[in-house]
Symmetry: C2
Subunit: 527 residues, 2 copies
């Protein structure tokens, strides 16, 4: 792969290559066929120009997104960055004691430049933060009567890439997805180019078979003898399917008759469940009040005795329990509900058990899916198809490609490495002054506080927690404006704001874990 | 864009370029950091090899998908095609009278080769049809413990492209999407490379603003002073949103309390509505029996007097009417419900009126969307967000890019041309022997029968219709196996199987309309 020269922009906005013409061609007037003043013979689109545009854009994407994904260093304008620093200082929360702005500025600049943390001041930013109004001005998003020539569209593409958050960047830790998987990326490019919709063999033969192959392997992987499933546009939609299936199992008539006149259906999930449970209950007409949140233990796991108590209470009240949604890997703490004990309770009370996608967390393939244990799904809709959608993207394909490329063993290695990196980070947090774990993690979710110097000697009373609550948002703002990394934070069930790191990306290494802690300390040490 | 040489495959399956190594690198052992036997320093993925793979795959996609999209001619193996013809003959429906297979074979081959229809026997197929078991063998979809080297993955990509239906092909007329829009394709490539998820400004600043800009323009376009909306993964999901909103409007308590104990909610839609209406009613707990299908006139339009009658009946029965789903452009006939009269009825009875996406049919941008007229949506979910999904792709972006490139005027031209092409096709159908319109189309959906020679002199009685019913499927099978075009057919409300052509793709021209009729005649003239 040879690096491409920087795209030239003529100062007057004209394309130096001269492809300024309109995108739509004037159709041929030879043997003209006119209907209502429209010439119908020949194509109107200039295929050659369109193809060149796609090719140029692909080069840009390759250069600006794919090649930079694993590259943390880049020449950035250090002057521009210097100019930004003073702006950061006044945004420190007023309730904390600080050094003077100048002290902070000097120490930060010194640390940044002297490589105290091993970080080069010339780095490839995770994000180039701009407030909405400024960004609107920079992008010119308005849609007009006239179209734009290709060279200008390419400039727009460049700007869109520039101001987008680099979720592929090795230091993007903000969400439960990160990193770049080359294989699933290629599969997604192919999907977009072929533009299939998965509903009949006739129109999507390859992708229907791909989905079947992935599901077959996943079912085998879990250890089931048979099973069925479908790839959905996300975990929230998958949870809705699960709830709908359980309801159908409880009372198939609901499909035709609806819920009107029936006893109140009630479902049980842990207080740590994904918020899509409430959304699903609302959407499906069950009602959010009929989601019963079962108490969890200190680690975030559903307490089976509490579950059984709540089921019995609901039965006594005349409600109709129909579903338990267990979670394997909760969103915040990464907790696993005790499935065996929950399954026993479900059996005793005749309840459907759904487990919220364990595998989603295991493979960093950005695929969300859902398993269902039996076949009645095929008949739960008149049309006989399995999806609530009509058109559906072949989401299994990206997962298939990554699996094919890496093999089961390669995927296993990725999981093992992510878990080992998590354990490394936990040990580092324990060793370092100013860092404090919320709890020993049971999985790849690592929740921790950064305690700035001014709070380190303070007693852990109400004042301490109130001040600590402000630290993570202040550090987050600084990291966003600097663009050096992105990491999420949240308060959780009485615990004040803490950072949450979930190791996902196959690109991250020990050095990135060190950087994460170094950088937080650098950004927060004046607080 | 220079054409690429054909990818070489060594006969033993080894890559002649030598990149056979494993995809995952062995991590550096220098300054090794070990946790549980896993080396943590340095990346494990070989970024250089991954980047090269993406680049090679992009070239393949460009060559095999994008450049071929507008190209109907290609060197295919004429011998292989000749060998296929005899297989087609025995599949003719037994209830029709035919020439002998040999007569058919000879006349077809002669017509194909002599260019009677202007078609070259060496053509780029819309599909290369294989039955499922054969296709499985050809593709080797099985997922194994070991991964595969890049050159083999590229071969797989090539095969996947080869056996996929070419929905970009100018003669793919099978669905309500077709053709290749270079601008939305680039936007989709960018989306996949940047891998954003649209939920907060923090993580998706650009795409949130893009969605806002597109919605703003669409609202302005419709002529509303204000409005709100969201891009969804398809029209079916959009209809579910609409139904949920109407229900919330009818009784906001349903969100928390559910439907249990409430009167039976009932909604009204035309007998020609999209099947997602029933799915939505089932999913939302309303029940399919509570979808009241209002009678349509001969053109497929809802009869307003019938609607009002059914609403009054439902009210008398103690049910609770809450919604009318009108359709602007029905799926099969392309009929438009009379919105003004329906709106008056809705006003009289206090019903929510939803119109199933008119714009989706107008712009061939493959974007599906939904408009909502007021703001209460933001508060209809606890989390304050608008989507039932958590993660969401920036679907507005592909539409934005196409709009930006073509301008409103360019989009308008596309619509005008599609409608003019439709009118051209209608006139051709009227002129040609053996073709018969179901009805004068009111939009771009053109429904017609092909009447083969053996039926042309027959009286239009039960035997005629029974035989005609078998013609479209037989022609469809032949076109699939030949791969020359793809066109959908269906029976509809007492009408026997007919073809349906919807002009969508910006690439099609008058020549493609002629080809469509020529080819159907060629494939069916022996029947």
């Amino acid at each position: 792969m040879s690096r491409l020269p920087d795209r030239e922009r003529a100062p007057d906005g004209n394309d130096s290559r001269g492809d300024t013409g309109p995108q739509e061609m004037v159709p041929s007037r030879k043997n003209m066929v006119l209907v209502d003043g429209v010439i119908l013979n020949g194509p109107t689109t200039d295929a050659k120009a369109g193809e060149r545009f796609v090719e140029d854009a692909c080069r840009l994407i390759m250069e600006e997104v794919v090649l930079k994904a694993t590259d943390i260093r880049e020449k950035v304008n250090v002057k521009a960055w210097d100019a930004k620093i003073p702006k950061l200082v006044p945004t420190l929360p007023p309730h904390l004691s600080f050094q003077t702005p100048i002290q902070f500025l000097l120490s930060w600049k010194a640390a940044s430049k002297c490589g105290e943390t091993g970080q080069d001041p010339e780095f490839h930013q995770v994000c180039e933060w701009r407030p909405p109004e400024e960004l609107k001005r920079l992008l010119d998003l308005e849609l007009r009567d006239a179209g734009e020539p290709h060279h200008r569209l390419l400039e727009r593409c460049q700007d869109i890439i520039r101001y987008s958050v680099k979720t592929n960047h090795p230091r993007f830790f903000n969400q439960l997805y990160a990193g770049l998987d080359y294989y699933s990326l290629v599969a997604r490019f192919m999907t977009e180019a072929l533009n299939p919709s998965v509903y009949t063999y006739e129109v999507s033969p390859v992708f229907l078979l791909v989905e079947e192959a992935v599901l077959k392997k996943m079912i085998e992987f879990i250890g089931w003898k048979e099973g069925d499933g479908i790839f959905n546009p996300g975990g929230s939609v998958s949870n809705m399917y699960a709830m709908n299936l359980a309801r159908y199992k409880y009372c198939p008539d609901i499909k035709e008759k609806g819920l009107s006149g029936l006893p109140r259906l009630i479902l049980f999930t842990s207080a740590e469940c994904h918020y899509s449970m409430k959304k699903s209950a609302s959407f499906l007409g069950i009602g959010t009040e009929n989601v019963c949140f079962v108490e969890t233990d200190g680690r975030g796991k559903m307490i089976p005795e509490e579950l059984e108590k709540r089921v019995q209470e609901a039965e006594k009240e005349g409600a109709a329990p129909f579903l338990v949604c267990a979670t394997s890997g909760t969103t915040v703490l990464g907790a696993f509900d005790p499935l065996d004990e929950i399954a026993d309770i479900c059996e005793r009370h005749g309840l459907w058990l759904h487990v919220d996608d364990l595998l989603k967390r295991c493979y960093s393939a950005n695929a969300s899916y859902l398993f269902q244990q039996d076949k009645f799904y095929d008949v739960s809709y008149d049309t006989g198809d399995k999806s609530i959608q009509c058109s559906r993207r072949p989401d299994a394909f990206k997962f298939w490609m990554a699996w094919k490329a890496l093999g089961t063993l390669g995927l296993e290695e990725r999981v093992n490495r992510a878990l080992a990196l998590s354990r490394y980070l936990v040990e580092e947090i324990k060793k370092r002054e100013g860092f404090k774990l919320l709890m020993e993690p049971e999985y790849a979710n690592i929740c921790f506080w950064y305690i700035p110097p001014s709070l380190r000697q303070m007693e852990e009373g109400p004042e301490f927690w109130a001040k600590l609550h402000l630290v993570a948002p202040a550090i987050k703002e600084r990291m966003m404006k600097k663009g050096s990394l992105m990491l999420g934070y949240q308060p959780h069930r009485g615990k004040v704001n803490f950072f949450r790191q979930v190791v996902i990306s196959p690109q991250v290494s020990r050095e990135d874990m060190d950087f994460l802690l170094d950088e937080i300390d650098l950004l927060g040490r004046d607080m």
